[in-house]
């Protein structure tokens, strides 16, 4: 089998195993269920006291202190007959009941129940009254005054539940004698004259008992009696358990969510140039470094990785991180070209108050630029804070930051400044994230997040450059950042003490100036596009472009591209892909000299097919309103054009730095 599938079928990124919600969903359930059930038990104990633990169910408060043997005796017989050992005979005042009792059918427990069915009203010494039924006790009133005419509290008045009468009596029958005792609403019988006659108000004998009975009758008819319901109480207990379980799950989830480390990570080393060195004896040829390199600097030849384009290497090290066995190492090889001297807070050493972030510091990765933008904004905010303290409350220190450059570093700095409460204005010479827009179509940006990267503002993850820029535009719009496009900065005057004044020039030629307490330079390394030497007629200046933003707008037009680098070739290819365009490419040299092979191949193919015209040794002499005057190998050539794209290189950003005294 021949290995090494062609690079177009192999993806650049290996996915990590993700735990989907299926795997995470049931985590913590065991703990939650255990604690929830413990909560249920605790709620039960709280509601009913420790006697609920006894089985088969609680007896009423007076009988709770009696041991099982006290009623059931040693043999465990049902307690029908043992009541009279403590209580007296208590014959019924009703003849029918007396007859049944004599037969032995109507025993004490038939009416009074035992265990679950026992009910009553409990009068405490402090005046508290509670009604009790089947294990559930319900306080009725906590009156501070004692009952009139009653001594010897606490006392207990037994109640007979309605369903005990209904075992024998049929309450639907209007002739039934029990209807005299049962009211429609109260769940308890209200007679209280079963065992003795209740005295009327005028008779004074056993007044204490009658007072208690009257009170008990009132309680049995009251609303509290109706509220005694077993199912609802149990539901409450279970709900409590559910609440406990839910809380446990929430706390568990929160604990598992690992807090990401703060963004204040160290920036990559500045000022040194690092290149990968590959140990050919150990290299596996696995393509991990090739796929990780954002600049396509590495390639695998004969199963060993080789640094094919050292000029493109950024030195930031994703290749070293990706190498599985350490056969690739980044080693220092000379100082980086022209890196400005900065403090560890990214502040320019010789011009305090000016901070640098992004590619201009010598780094080369988008996520490093984001990190540096955040750090620079923090440092600038600290600077503003220091200025405020020095000035005191008297002078007003402007809380505006001027950020030059709307790339990843500048935008991250602006968002962070906004979060920190400062005002930020971003000056950009062309468009938002222009350098990223100039990447090749569909290029993937921001692979492989490191730790803390996800919390960076604007961090998006592994997407194409188009999607990245679109999302950034949306973020900037939502955050209402002030980004002024088409404004080219000329110089920065002032100092940390008095504040800075940035002089700039708009695309239309008008000048402007912005002032701020601190300046963040995030100008990148692409610099400003170089202009043509040839004179440009004023009417034609609108037709001269330095970037292709939307090829579709030029469908059906005549376009001329000056230059033959990667950017020029990609512009020409994009224009040629539009229907009806007439594309001419002018180059002052005599052949393809540089650029990506695939661009060269594609353009050469188009030239061979006649779709694009390529003129070598061409120099633009004059840009007129409708025609371009070109000298091609000495001979004059006039080209009619609708749009002229100038891609003849860029002036490095070092000029602005030099002008502001960075070096």
């Amino acid at each position: 089998m021949t290995p090494a599938t062609s690079s177009s079928s192999r993806r650049r990124r290996a996915e990590h195993a993700r735990a989907s919600s299926d795997v995470r969903r049931r985590r913590g359930w065991l703990l939650a269920a255990t604690l929830g059930s413990a909560g249920v038990l605790a709620a039960l104990l709280f509601r009913d006291g420790a006697r609920t633990l006894a089985s088969p169910g609680p007896v009423g408060p007076p009988h709770a202190v009696v041991a099982c043997a006290g009623c059931h005796g040693d043999s465990g017989a049902p307690a029908r007959t043992t009541c009279t050992t403590c209580h007296a005979g208590h014959p019924s005042t009703r003849p029918a009941h007396r007859a049944l009792a004599a037969q032995g059918t109507l025993t004490c427990t038939v009416c009074h129940g035992g265990h679950q069915a026992e009910s009553g009203v409990l009068f405490e010494s402090n005046g508290a009254v509670s009604i009790y039924r089947g294990g559930v006790q319900h306080a009725v009133v906590a009156a501070a005054r004692a009952l009139p005419g009653v001594q010897g509290l606490p006392a207990y008045v037994p109640l007979i539940a309605r369903d005990r009468c209904e075992r024998c009596h049929d309450t639907r029958d209007e002739g039934d004698g029990a209807l005299a005792c049962l009211s429609d609403t109260a769940p308890f019988a209200l007679c209280f004259d079963e065992h003795r006659r209740v005295a009327t108000a005028t008779v004074s004998a056993p007044a204490r008992r009658d007072a208690l009975v009257e009170r008990a009758r009132a309680v049995a008819q009251g609303p509290a009696a109706r509220n005694l319901s077993g199912a609802a109480a149990n539901a409450l207990v279970v709900l409590f358990g559910i609440g406990v379980a839910g809380l446990v799950v929430v706390v568990d989830r929160r604990r598992r969510r690992v807090a990401p480390p703060s963004v204040r990570a160290t920036p990559p080393p500045l000022g040194v140039r690092r290149l990968p060195v590959i140990d050919a004896a150990r290299c596996l040829g696995c393509h991990a470094c090739v796929d990780a390199c954002p600049y396509d600097a590495l390639v695998v030849r004969r199963y060993v990785a080789v640094l094919a384009r050292p000029d493109e290497c950024c030195g930031a090290g994703p290749c070293q991180t990706a190498c599985p066995n350490g056969s690739l190492e980044l080693l220092t090889s000379g100082a980086a070209a022209e890196a400005p001297r900065l403090s560890s807070e990214l502040e320019a050493v010789n011009r305090p108050g000016i901070f640098l972030a992004g590619d201009v510091t010598g780094g080369a990765l988008v996520r490093h630029a984001l990190r540096q933008g955040v750090l620079a904004a923090h440092a600038a905010a600290a600077h503003v804070e220091r200025r405020r303290r020095e000035h005191g409350p008297a002078g007003a220190v402007d809380d505006q930051l001027v950020i030059i450059g709307a790339g990843p570093a500048g935008l991250a700095a602006a968002l962070t400044a906004q979060e920190l409460g400062l005002r930020a204005v971003v000056l950009e010479q062309s468009r938002l994230a222009a350098s990223i827009v100039s990447f090749s179509r569909g290029k993937r940006v921001l692979d492989a997040a490191g730790d803390a990267d996800e919390r960076l503002p604007l961090f998006v993850g592994d997407v194409t450059k188009e999607e990245l820029v679109a999302r950034w535009q949306r973020t900037i719009r939502v955050a209402r950042l002030e980004v002024r496009e088409g404004v080219r900065v000329l110089d920065i005057t002032g100092d940390a003490r008095a504040g800075f004044r940035v002089r700039a020039e708009c695309a239309t030629g008008t000048g402007s100036s912005v002032s701020g307490t601190a300046v963040i330079l995030a100008v990148g390394t692409r610099g400003t596009p170089r202009e043509l030497d040839a004179p440009v007629a004023p009417e034609a200046s609108a037709k001269v472009h330095y970037e292709l933003s939307d090829a579709r707008a030029f469908a059906g037009r005549r376009a001329v591209v000056v230059g033959l680098g990667d950017v020029a070739m990609e512009t020409a290819l994009a224009l040629a892909a539009q229907p009806g365009t007439d594309v001419t490419v002018l180059h002052r040299g005599s052949g393809f000299r540089r650029g990506k092979q695939r661009n060269i191949d594609a353009l050469a193919a188009l030239v061979a097919r006649g779709r694009v015209r390529l003129v070598f040794e061409a120099r633009v002499e004059r840009v007129g309103r409708a025609t371009l005057e070109v000298s091609a190998a000495g001979k004059p050539l006039a080209l009619a054009f609708d749009a002229l794209f100038v891609h003849v290189g860029r002036i490095a950003a070092g000029d602005l730095l030099a002008q502001t005294g960075m070096r």
């Binding site: 089998m1 021949t2 290995p3 090494a4 599938t5 062609s6 079928s9 192999r10 993806r11 990124r13 290996a14 996915e15 990590h16 195993a17 993700r18 735990a19 989907s20 919600s21 299926d22 795997v23 969903r25 049931r26 359930w29 269920a33 255990t34 929830g36 059930s37 413990a38 249920v40 038990l41 039960l44 609920t52 633990l53 006894a54 089985s55 088969p56 169910g57 609680p58 679950q116 089947g134 294990g135 559930v136 319901s229 077993g230 199912a231 149990n234 539901a235 279970v238 358990g241 379980a245 596996l284 696995c286 393509h287 991990a288 796929d291 004969r302 199963y303 990706a322 599985p324 066995n325």
Partner: protein, 732 residues
Amino acid sequence: MADGVDGAFRSPLLAGLDARGRADVRAMARVRRLAAGAVVFGPGDPADALCFVTSGAILLETPRGARELGAPEHFGGEALATGARRTTRAFARVPSTLLEVPAAALERILARTAAAASLARESAAARRQALAALLLETPFGLALGEAALERFVALLREERSPPGARLFVASEPALAGYIVASGLVELVTTSGDKTYAARGDVIGLEATLARDAYGSTAVTLGEAVLWAISSQVARELADAHPAAVARVEGASRARQAQQQRVARAVHGHGTRHVLHELERLDSAGSLLAIELDRCVRCGECARACADTHGTPRLERRGDKVVLALTTDGAVTPRALLFPQACQHCKVPACLPECPTGAISRDASGAVELDQDLCTGCGACAKACPWDAIRLAPRPSNPPGASALVATKCDLCRGSAAPACIDVCPSGAILRLDPERDVVELGAALGRRPRSAVAPRWQAFGGGSRVIAFAAVVPPIAALAASGASARAAQHPVVTGVAAGVACLVLLAHAGIRRSARTRAWLRRRVSGLQARGAAPFVRWHVISGVLAAAAVVAHTRFAAGQGVAGALTFTFWGLALSGGLGAAVYRVLPARLTRLERRGTLPEERGGEREALEQRLYGSLTAQDTAAKELARLVLLPYARAWCGPLALVASGRSLREEQAALTARVALLFEGRKSERVAASAELVHAAVALRALGARRCLETALAAWLPLHVLLAAALGLLLAVHVVGALR
């Protein structure tokens, strides 16, 4: 052992290796010791490795006669061809030792030495032989005969195409025909009809011979290996063997007719059918599939996989496909989801990518990954077209090993049954062998006689629904009724013990579902539990729940609760209700949910889905005219936004297609029969509106499927605790 390997280094191929090369060979190769008569491989086995004889003698039985090989010769060169199978039988004549070196690894190792050239020559010869062997199985090759075939094959040119490469375009002049040696090619005519050419088919030959233009555009699906027949070779072939060429043309016409029949037949099934998944079905040796009508979306499969292996190797994401599967002779169309899990391809894309030879295949064709050899470079993960290999932290960290290691499904080698299949409560997940089980695949691509990975735990039958005991309920109800009689109240201890034991059996279900060992033990003891998945256990859980309810009724006689006993009863009835609700929901809802889905999605994706669908609706409104916008405002947006809409959709039980038809009918009614093209043009809007309503309906159904379980689990824990307290209290 030292002698096992050193003998191989006398072979001309391996003689020039330096120390590093030898070390690599030692690491990647496997030493096999064979007794006399032991078989090395037989015809049809997957061919991945070259075998170097280090001692003893091996007998190769070729059609031309037997050949004996001793040390340091090597054999098995067909492994150098992509997707080849063994054509000969090899066995040891005397006790022998072999060194098996994976072919892809050998090419890597030899690339730095002078032997690379001779290996390349051998590889080229092996590839041509593999092509000849392949063609001999087709009518074309049979008509040609072996000798002519060899001469013909020698004149062809090999081409490897990445996925999506265009071989030729319709109406371009035909310059070459192609034989597909590996992979799948899609042919699209100018009118949009699609047919497919697979391994062994010949395309473009007719047009080349007639010096005509190509009739269709050919695009490769997946990596493909093709052999180009130039026009000159084609003409020579036509002159010398017209009968064979006629066979080719006849075969290709028959293939196209057959595929068009299949296309017409499956078109009504669903939006995604066999012809959409052809590449996957053709390449898979053992495909993990979830039957959506049974799947209750509980995610136990992924959880069990993650618990067994430490990292999850399974994700329930994918498109819904409707395929006709054979089940015990019957052919039924089923809605399936193919989750992301290794499908043990017949031509694995990951195998040749591994730089250390950690990926290999066993005799049945299952692709295995040796984690000790893995360096975590991720080349295999990048190569897998199905995203089935992922990188995960290494479970144990011996010094010098990489932090990350590649993981993929390995059919749960170490256990009795694959964990995902074993744990599914409705028996919905299964492993398919597409050639054997997917009827339409054979119809679409013709029969390819080949052995594939024997999927483990493939018991198809017996996966009946969770509740299928309509006959059992009446007797249980009678038992419950009798239990409620007063007599039972006089024996509280007996009924209590019965109720308690029944509750313990119910509670044991949690342990059964969690522990694979328990399930395996039970399956060994009880024959009725053999069917696929945990469905038999769930069925018995429901039955024992009803029995327990009868016992509880006998013990408590519906009394309201007091104290622990009361709470216990309350908890039990809560469990019974939630369990009954859960069982009903599991029985009824999955089929309804499947009808409303296009893809399998996980709950974490739901957040963005509504936004995306609204974007889709508004996006398709953007370029439309006023009438369409009025239609949207009056009909479609209210339809999509109505809060009761999802409930109405659930209640109606309609599928997405039926709902779309209903809404289109409403729209047509609005236009009162005129402007039928307007109705057709608003199809996209109708689709988007229905998708929005269906999103709400899907959420309802998924919530119903999942919501009863947490309550049930909590109440079960409470039941256990309260039961313990109750029993302890009763004993005192």
